[in-house]
């Protein structure tokens, strides 16, 4: 898991991941790139991350992937990420394509639901919490 301040250097990271696993005998490598779209007049999105819980979430996924002979990787941005650049990339390596195709779906969807990351729209330099696009994590409401 890699965290960066500002937009991701997608080509460098994907290229490095490819090099890292070049001799691992995986038959499938499926990357996912999340790019900030220009919509609703935003200049950028901005992100807060709670790293200890994100690390635990990612480690649990790494274990789950390992049980299926696969490896998951991810990188995410902290702070402001301008439109048309990338805030999030992930990838799955596996011996055969089927496992990688299924895992990238499950991994990215659970990421959206349970990774402790908070998103803000940036308009006129101001950060506005993207409340309407945010999802309560599993177990939310415990203290209510």
């Amino acid at each position: 898991m890699e965290l960066y301040h500002g937009p991701l250097d997608v080509k460098e990271i994907f290229g490095r991941w490819l090099d890292e696993e070049a001799e691992s005998n995986y038959g499938a490598y499926i990357p996912f790139v999340g790019t900030i779209r220009a919509e609703d007049g935003i200049e950028a999105l901005s992100f807060d991350i709670y790293e200890p819980v994100l690390k635990a979430w990612f480690d649990a996924w790494q274990e789950k992937a390992g049980e299926r002979g696969a490896v998951v990787k991810m990188a995410h941005a902290i702070g402001d990420v301008p439109v048309h650049t990338s805030s999030y990339i992930s990838a799955v390596f596996s011996p055969k394509r089927r496992v990688a195709l299924e895992l990238i779906d499950e991994f990215v969807e659970d990421f959206k639901a349970n990774a402790p990351i908070w998103k803000y729209d940036v308009r006129n330099g101001e950060r506005i919490y993207a409340e309407d696009r945010s999802t309560p994590m599993d177990g939310a409401g415990l203290l209510a």
Binding site: S87, N114, A115, W118, K119, S134, G139, A144
Partner: protein, 73 residues
């Protein structure tokens, strides 16, 4: 004493309190007006592990994190 921290957009400074269980933390946080709209949609971590049980026992120095709705990517 345990420490309660409020993550992301909640924008509230950490508070310290005496509490033996998470239920006692819940009771104290419910008294705070500014948290009224947050608690029902926030998840909870104890010393950076997600928890889901109000009877969880607390000890001196424990750190409780309040995690509002998320949207990574």
């Amino acid at each position: 004493m345990v420490k309660v921290e409020f993550l992301g957009p909640i924008g509230k400074a950490p508070v310290e309190m005496e509490a033996a269980t998470l239920a006692e933390v819940a009771a104290k946080l419910k008294e705070e007006e500014e948290l009224r709209d947050w608690l029902d949609k926030c998840a909870v971590a104890l010393n950076d592990t997600m928890v889901n049980d109000l009877t969880t026992q607390l000890k001196d120095g424990d750190r409780i994190s309040i995690l509002p709705p998320v949207c990574g990517g």
